[in-house]
């Protein structure tokens, strides 16, 4: 599983730290960090919560093309 650079970029674009995003979706900073590093596969509920906070769709943040995977 590769790094989730789309999430990292969207978070930075929203001017949020990992801690800010973590607090907004109700998880720990280490979980957001693990998702961005590709070390943890979040549940669909957490994915949706992250998308809502960042104003993005699931496709924007979590869809991987074959070339990305």
């Amino acid at each position: 599983m590769g790094k989730n650079l789309k999430l990292k970029s969207a978070r930075a674009g929203a001017d949020m730290t990992q801690k800010d995003l973590a607090d907004a979706v109700g998880v720990s900073r280490q979980t957001v960090n693990a998702i961005e590093k590709g070390e943890y596969n979040p549940t669909i509920n957490l994915c949706k919560a992250i998308c809502r906070v960042l104003g993005k769709t699931l496709n924007d943040l979590f869809w991987e093309d074959e070339n990305d995977a």
Binding site: G26, V27, S28, Q30, T31, A34, Y40, P42, T43, L46
Partner: protein
């Protein structure tokens, strides 16, 4: 009466990590108890039966919990399939381990090679038969549960589609 819920301090990743730690933690006492029982059989004493009683009861409870829980959820194993061939191999390994342990114990007690071989054959054969019977019964129960779960799922899907 209102049900009081205690807030979970862990998020989903921490919860999964804790579950992994707990599941690994379960295997430490499991194999610890097995090794402890085998070691005490090999070392031996006149009160061996009493000495391993506690460990045996605990191992039995632990094993029964795992087996019953898995069967109730239609789970067999990550890699092995419940086939007669696999059950035969697993039973043979269990029989060999118990037979060797009891054979060695017998040799140290009586210094009779032929008698020890007899003990080995009897214990290995008995354990093999017992394991194979238990595995065969469990395999049947597993297949029955699997069939039931498959039917339940398809019924739910059909009802949901209507």
């Amino acid at each position: 009466m209102r049900k009081r819920s205690v807030k979970n301090n862990l998020d989903e990743m921490q919860e999964q990590t804790l579950l992994k730690i707990e599941s690994r933690g379960m295997w430490i006492p499991f194999y610890g108890l097995v090794l402890s029982i085998v070691a005490q059989v090999l070392i031996g004493s006149e009160q061996m039966g009493n000495a391993i009683l506690g460990e045996s009861v605990l191992l039995l409870i632990l094993s029964l919990y795992v087996v019953i829980s898995c069967l109730r959820h239609g789970i067999w194993d990550r890699r092995l399939r419940p086939t007669p061939k696999t059950n035969t191999v697993v039973s043979a390994v269990a029989g060999a381990v118990v037979g060797i342990a009891m054979g060695i114990r017998s040799y140290f007690d009586y210094h009779a090679a032929v008698g020890s071989v007899g003990v080995f054959l009897f214990c290995a054969g008995f354990t093999f038969a017992l394991c194979f019977a238990a595995l065969s019964v469990c395999a049947k129960l597993y297949e029955k549960k699997q069939a039931q779960l498959e039917t339940e799922d398809s019924d739910t899907a059909e009802n949901g589609a209507k």
